[in-house]
Subunit: 270 residues, 2 copies
Amino acid sequence: MQKDKNAPIGIFDSGIGGLTVVKAVMEALPNEHIIYFGDTARVPYGIKSEKTVKEYALQITDFLMKRNVKMILIACNTVSASAYGAIREHVKDVPVLDVITAGTRATMEFNHSDRRIGVIGTLATIGSEAYERSIHAHDPNIHVFSKACPMLVPLAEEGWTDNEIARKTLRIYLQDLKSKQLDSLILGCTHYPLFKNAIAREMDNPDIHIIDSAVSIAQMARESLKEQHLLRTDPKGKFECFVSDKPQRFQQLAERFLGRKIPQIEIVQL
Amino acid sequence: MQKDKNAPIGIFDSGIGGLTVVKAVMEALPNEHIIYFGDTARVPYGIKSEKTVKEYALQITDFLMKRNVKMILIACNTVSASAYGAIREHVKDVPVLDVITAGTRATMEFNHSDRRIGVIGTLATIGSEAYERSIHAHDPNIHVFSKACPMLVPLAEEGWTDNEIARKTLRIYLQDLKSKQLDSLILGCTHYPLFKNAIAREMDNPDIHIIDSAVSIAQMARESLKEQHLLRTDPKGKFECFVSDKPQRFQQLAERFLGRKIPQIEIVQL
C-alpha cells in the first residue's frame, strides 16, 4: 500500500538520547511531521537481554505503526544492534533505518587507503561489537579501534558537555585513539553529538571525519523518502513527543537534547 | 519461631552499590554469614513507579527468606523510601533494617542546638524527600539541606573516586552545602562511601559528622542481633553473592565496592 506523504516519521530510543536524531531530522527535513517515543521507564536497554530488547522494540514499533508512520528511525544503538531484523520483519511495508547502519554508511563515503576508523560508545554498544561487524561487512580490511566512554551519558544528562570536567574526561577517553592515525571517528551513542565540538578539539586533527550518526540517519531518511516520492512538501512539520515515564528534570533535559522548546510531552504505557 | 544464630544476614540493593553495606557489615560482624542480592538486570529503581519497586523488593525478599535469613538489610535508598513497610509486613518474624532509618538514627545521636543536616543522594532519592521526612519525624525543627549529585554513581562505577575529575565534580556539588554551617552530612546513596575521604576534604570542616549509612546500618544490625541473642559466635562468616544479570566489568566493579575479592557470583532469575 502506498503510504501518505503527509504521514509522520516515527523515531524512537530507549530514553531521551534519540532527541539528537529528532533534532537532525528537523534540520534536514523541516517539513516532516515527527513522532518520537522514548522508553524512559525502562532505560537503559544496554544491560538487558536481547530477547527483552526485541520485545520492547516491537512494542514501540506497534505504537508507532498505530499512528500510521511512513518510516521508522531506530535512534538507539542497542536496539539497532539487537532488534533491527525483528523490526524489519514486523513492519514489511515501511522503511526502517537504524543509527549503526547510518553511521557505517556515512564513513564508507570516504576513500582512504589503509582505512582506520574509531568508534566511541557506551559499554554495551562497544561490548556488542556491532559497529565492527557493520564496518567489516563492507570491508573486512578496515582497522576498527573502539573505546567505551561510560561517563559521557551522565555528563550529557548533567549538562556538562563543554566544561573543564567534560574536557578532562574526554582527554582520558580519547588518549589512545589519538595515537591511532584515524581517518574517521564514529560517535556511536545518541548522547555524543552534544560533545561534538569538544571531541573535535580534543582529537586535534583537522583531517579526521567526525561521524555524527544522528546527522547520518537524517540524511539517509531524506534520500529514502525522496526515492519513494514520500517527502512532505507542505511547510512546518509537527512534533509529537511520547515517553513511558517522566523522571525529574526531564523537560529541561529533553530540551537540551532537542535544542529547542518542547510544547508537550505525553506519558503513555505500552 | 526462634531463628538460628548461624543463619545468614540477607542484604539487597537494586544493583551493586549495596556491596558497600556488605563491606561495612563484614567489618562490624566478621563472624556472620551474608547473602547478597543485587538486581543488576533491573537497575536503576529510582526511575520506576512505587508499585514496581515494591513488587521487585518483595520478590527479592522471598528469595532471601527461602535461604532462611535471620535479618534483612535494605541497602537501597529507593527501596527504603518506597517499600520498607511492604517488606516489613511481608516478613513479620525477621527484623528488617533500612539505610534511610539507619542514616537518620546515626545523626540523631549528636546533640547540637539549631541542628543543620545536609543530605546528598541521587536525583530520585533527593526528589523523594525521604530523608527530610525521616529526620523531621524525629524533630521537625531540624534544618535539612539536600543536594542531588547525579554524577557520583557513574564516577564510582568508572573507578574515579579521588582523581581530579572527582574532586572538581565534588567542588561543584558541595559548593552550596559548604556555606550552610552543617553539623552533619548524610551520604544518602550506597555508592557514596567510596568518596568519603574526598567529600570530607572538600567540606573542609573538622567538626562536621559525615554519616556513612553503610556503617550506620551495620551498627544497627549488630545491636539488633545482640539484643535478640542472634550474634553468630563461630569465626569466619561465609559470603554468597547473587545478581540478576552480570553486565560488563561487573566482577571488577563489585570488588571495588566490596574492597576484596569475590570468589563466585551467581546469576539468578527471580
